[in-house]
Symmetry: D2
Subunit: 488 residues, 4 copies
């Protein structure tokens, strides 16, 4: 990674308005069976666009510029980390932007750059002409300050069968045609986050493959308005009919997930990064996921902070700060949050430099992700426990405003530390939004399934651990190695 | 409890239509600040009414009549249990009706009869004229086949202070006036379930009280359309904008919770069951809760069954039935469900007969409730883990119906065991509705807070356990008791 | 099971002395490589014999006679349970004798009768002449009031291979010779409890087998002094150098485990219960284990009682009864203990009658065993937490008796509730013995591995659950079954 | 901390023999009521001395010299850490020496230097002449390369009462006389580790105190052979009758704990570091504990490594490496071990410099200690689960050596991967020693109680967390702070 390459031309930091404008193209997006003309004005998607726009706003805001802009003047997301310090800054940026996003990650730069960094790191393995294409595409995204999504997870059909063994040949995306100037692909990907408000989509394989699966071993990138590409948005986590008081997070915070259909989509050669190299499918799949898990443990930090803060605030408004069991639950929430932060930061500091790219410690990243994933439901339980039943029985803000009984209602709701009834309800509404409802559910499902499953993390932990060292020590303890000092 | 009393006049089992009709009175109900004219036709409340109506439908349906109708021809809910067998039948009825209610309890008979049974069991302590009033009110409810709610939880203000110590005198409901023909009460209660579609409301104290709190020590019953009573419904868990496919449970299953305001409500003497007896406030509070916890562990059974079934079904449609970690999670879900069932049934069988009323074993009831409450979030996690990320990224049913891409989408979604894409999505929609969103959140918050908190259950367990026996054994083991055989 | 058969001749209840005498035969027992002449006088084994003798003492003690003697005048252990009530009494006897045994099961009747009951229950499947041989052997044990052990677990070698696939043909016990009058067997069994102080040994297969494993499919019984049978006792959990004060449980409570070697042991035909029926190997293996797990959850009850009692007593002597976290841990210990009791009793009450034998509910038995096994280490942790560091740093009883500093030491150790320093140390010694050291470790390892592993219990739970019912309900909830009422 | 001070005279690194020699003085040590003439030759204590000697051997061994010797040529333990790097090296030394000690910490330098560092860090607060005395004593220990123990925990009597409120005035150590040249103290301390084989003992208060407790507020140091000082050793964790094969760890690894009696012990002025400053008692108590907890999370690392290694090795010898549930447990053990390591190292790197002393991040140290303490029993359970029942039923090494059946026994025990029966048993013996028996129990009790209790760690976590920051964020999320960007 030459410094020269990274500074070859003046960086462009787009404004939020430029970003919005860039989304008004021929993209084919459906919401509940209806075509969406303009994602920036659609009643639900506009929230997703506004949410993602924070990325561009932060880069132009003095408060965040240092974090959001990389050393070459481009968005820091596109800066190739070369040291632990670079990784810490990348993590800090992801944390800050998610914090500003009210615990919902922005993702339009995070996920794309995770894929780009992984592709760059595998360029040598992929060889030419692929390495150059990847480089060119990376510069295209960086210099254009683009929003980039990633489509990876296939629908999978019968999980016990490989792609080529499926009764349904379209259970995994595959190459169905080869032309001089490119390839034609068919299939579907699920869980494609932020696709409707991205500029580019990177497509990666989802698993290791055998020779028979060669047609399924493909990686490429296409603009969102590519003919044949259809984005079918999930209706889950709608902003519909929510107001800011009752749903202070999810009334306006929104990320769109699509089932992404490829109807014989043509991909020009210069955008094809891998084709037919079945032996590399697993490598590319895991490579991206590992980068992405570091992003994950960074963007989870505001969520765990919010849970600790919610517990503390709920304890205060309920007058429970001295209760023993509440203090016990608070110390759990704090340990949960700060263990994640320590592991994330330590993973950055203990990075390995591979081909000039700083890669966070894989073992620690996976342990961090696992401990987060396995604890979130318990964290929700503890916060709900401290907050009380009003989480699910609160009156509406319209009731507080009612001319007849509103004032009485507010007075009744008054809480211990002089907190007004109205403020108490806002705290409870926030906690309800954070831990119940479709927003809480979204975070819960993401915790388990996004960036690889809990079981995948366990396997990675087992694979990455220095088992030989541990076994040598156990052998020495058992007297099967009679050295004076233990083996290192 | 004489048998004669229970069969003194022919029982009336109302039809669902009669029940609906009975709700059209002068009740003062608000939803989001707007007065509700007729709860049976209101866009949200009609679902709550329909849901509750199942109780009346079941009593008239041959399939359930044996369970739903008691030995005296009245609703079994009003049958005073005299044996463990009676309790098992009561439990079975609650389970069956909740099962028919798609895991949401009906509650319009359960909660009221819990309070009535508790009041009957405390009649001797309350003495005359209260005992006779309770008896008369019980017969009124039973013979009228009425829907009865219970308002217990006060707003509480500063939880470290007793009612009379609160800066806000209205933090707990209290007697503000005494007349020859009755009393006048003021205050508010929260979490009043099914009040908008009940006929009667029983009001109970929420905690133990001291002499200074005498005005707060009050128990009574009033019809829902009593002047001065205002029901402010929570907007949480709305059926609004949900369809049966995406939300197969919560599109139509609904229970309304209100903040219940008492603006100088007059209660005639014959409806006052306790007044000023501060030393009985705690007894009445706990007495009801203990009956209600047995109801709780009965109505949780369909929920835990649904979770086990959801896990099994998800494993099947995902082709994961042979995966080791999935089998591990399934065995956890089954143990969770069946431990609850065994504890509930065993608590019934080990009941104590108090003044002719069979009271389920309090220790076991609380252990059952606690193990349910502490496990639900984990159960959700396991089911979500098996089900996969589509829980939060599924396409809409309108997408499956789309003339252009619908068919392809359905084909892509096809799963392992020949399950069609459409059916797979229905399974995932059900699990999403069950464990995420406001329905899952409602169940989660209820698990922790309804029928008393987790901490209250722990204290009851400690209080109910035969600590002397355990300590004697420990002493004997320590050699501090030198008997040959251990003490019993 | 005819009543006549069970009362065919007057029962003999042996005295403890008769039992001891019966152990003085030609048995071949080794302890640390040294032959043991007389197990009743050996410095370690005499404790095991005394411990087991409690069984005979109880039967002759008025306090226990009702429990210990069955309806036919024989030991109740040999009474074939025909009702849930019979099972409850069997459970109560096991609980009482283990309670008298200071939390260590006696086992000399429990395990043998578990095997006998299982063999009787499978007699029809085994057919003649095996059924008659089993019957005769059962009567022999019952009428002779014998101590009977069971050798089941093979050494197993490579667990991924079946018996006949093992590189080492002796990894599983097998038939190596067939004579007119019997068979000759060779191999080894591990974990054979109470063999050195039993009269008879029943040998059962340890797993399901295929046709190639036919020589390994064998079940029989032999007297302990059979030529060729060698019992190699484990040195683990020795009573050596322990005194009653420091180790109030393990100084005298002892169960011997052997590795049991069969050097071409001849088994006469009348003692062969199954040979070569590979298809029945798994059935017999599981059949015994299921009976034995019910024994297990019965004999664990005094242990969990002792843990709850230990926690309560430690809280008292440490002056910690009001501490919030201590109350939390105590309520955990109580719930742990009483859930096990409730599940055990409920499993008995929900028994199935199979060929006249009452079989406890398999699902509940396994859930009970699993919840016990998964919680014991946590129970130890909680008790140790309440008890304090003196568990591992206490002074010796000889120090308390020291003429110079003994009195001062005792005064320093004085605790809150007027408990003397000496008594406080006895409590701590008991808890130390119960939860640490080789006795605590023995209980911990048994919890996980005895009567089948944790994983085996999980598989049984999955197999025994009514999965079809749960799946039907989930389908109905998902709208895939459009019946008005849910399927049962 | 001037560099000059640290290098004022040539450092002396004692040899193991010099250390041994130094223990042969007039110290008054009792074991089971019998006076110990020479701790270096006593049948049990010699193991403790040998174990501690490793510290001196390592400093003279090339393999460890770099780690064991500080920049000034003295033992690194006495080097005052000034940077995170210093703390990492200190941690590495503690880890290496405990690793060499077979998972048992040496402690003779660790604990004393923890107290010295804490006293140095509090010198300014203590003022003169105390600061100079502390400095001089520190140099005495460093330059003499001394073994130093710490007596902190009082017996406490009724824990609900302060020292001066106790019925027994000697429940806490106190000043009973004041002379011109020093003070006289009386009382007892419990859990004094390594006292019998130390040169000096530092005495610290155990809790915060009020004015009435002034006589109990005292800190000082005395040589072990000070008149009036009696060390009553605990009999727990004896090496007695253990052989290296069965108990590869605890046959020779030993740490002695004493109840330490002060019978009117005279302490000369120059060794008194604090007297009567009740307001500083809590500060000194906590100050030491915080340093000591960092030592703790460093010396726990070989233990958690051993558990992970034990699990891996057991899986191999049992042929269970591919079993799903075993892989699950192994990934748990690895995550447990590596989370502790990451938190410990990160706490060092995130240290604060206080008066020139690098203090590890208190929040992270406590989280690390808590996660270790709460997980150890589960770690034991998982390792025992993988290892199998032979942990508690293994034959003795004398059996393997038996001329008649030894060879057969060894052949039977042969395991999957070509591991001989003898080696397999060594592995199982090691795991049995590590997780059961008095050694496993010692580690378990230490995990909970050493270096402060679990509850103390929770309180520290709550106190150290930046609660204001978390609460601000929660408020902003709730809309109670309307800033555009979230507060930092």
């Amino acid at each position: 990674m030459s410094d020269e390459a990274q500074t070859s031309r003046p960086a462009r930091l787009r404004t939020a308005e430029e970003y919005r404008e860039s989304l008004r193209d021929g993209r084919r997006v459906f919401y509940r069976g209806t075509a969406v003309e303009d994602v920036t004005t659609h009643s639900v998607f506009k929230h997703a666009v506004n949410h993602a726009s924070l990325d561009y706003e932060m880069a132009h805001d003095e408060a965040y510029a240092d974090l959001a802009v990389g050393p070459d003047g481009a968005s820091r997301y596109f800066h190739v980390p070369q040291t632990g310090e670079d990784l810490l800054k990348r993590s800090a940026l992801i944390e800050a932007s998610t914090r500003a996003g009210k615990t919902l990650v922005l993702l339009i730069k995070e996920i794309g750059s995770d894929a780009l960094l992984s592709l760059l790191a595998h360029s040598a393995q992929l060889g030419e002409p692929y390495a150059s294409r990847i480089r060119a595409f990376y510069e295209h995204c960086r210099d254009g300050d683009l929003a980039v999504c990633v489509a990876q997870t296939d629908v999978k059909g019968d999980r016990a069968l490989s792609p080529s063994e499926q009764p349904n040949p379209d259970a995994y995306l595959r190459i169905v045609g080869r032309r001089d100037d490119g390839i034609v692909v068919r299939g579907a990907k699920v869980h494609t986050s932020v696709s409707v408000n991205s500029n580019e989509m990177i497509v990666l394989p989802t698993r290791a493959m055998s020779e028979a699966d060669a047609d399924y071993a493909v990686a490429f990138a296409i603009p969102i308005d590519t003919p044949g590409l259809t984005l079918v948005a999930s209706p889950y986590l709608s902003t519909h009919a929510k107001n800011d008081t009752e749903h202070p997070l999810s009334a306006t915070r929104k990320m769109v997930e699509t089932t992404t259909l490829f109807d014989d989509v043509f991909v020009p050669n210069e955008r094809v990064f891998m084709e037919g190299r079945h032996e590399l499918a697993g490598t590319l799949a895991r490579g991206f996921v590992e980068f992405h898990r570091f992003t994950a443990i960074s963007y989870k930090l505001p969520l765990v902070d919010a849970l600790a803060g919610a517990g503390l605030l709920a304890a205060r408004v309920n007058g429970l700060e001295r209760a023993g069991h509440v203090r016990d639950k608070l110390s759990w929430l704090i340990s949960y949050a700060e263990t994640l932060r320590a592991l994330a930061h330590h993973a950055a500091e203990r990075c390995k430099i591979i081909d000039g790219v700083a890669v966070p410690d894989t073992l620690l990243v996976n342990i961090a992700k696992l401990q987060f994933a396995q604890g979130l439901h318990t964290a929700f339980m503890h916060v709900q426990d401290i907050a009380g039943g009003l989480l699910a029985t609160y009156p509406a803000v319209e009731d507080l405003d009612h001319p007849v009984y509103g004032e009485a209602l507010e007075r009744y709701m008054e809480s211990a530390g002089g907190v007004s009834g109205r403020d108490r309800l806002r705290v409870l509404n926030m906690i309800s939004d954070l831990t119940t409802g479709d927003y809480g559910g979204y975070q819960a499902v993401l915790a388990i399934h996004a960036e690889g499953s809990i079981e995948a993390e366990k396997l990675t932990i087992l694979a990455q651990y220095d088992r030989a060292r541990a076994t040598r020590y156990a052998n020495w303890l058992a007297g099967l190695d009679s050295s004076q000092w233990p083996p290192s």
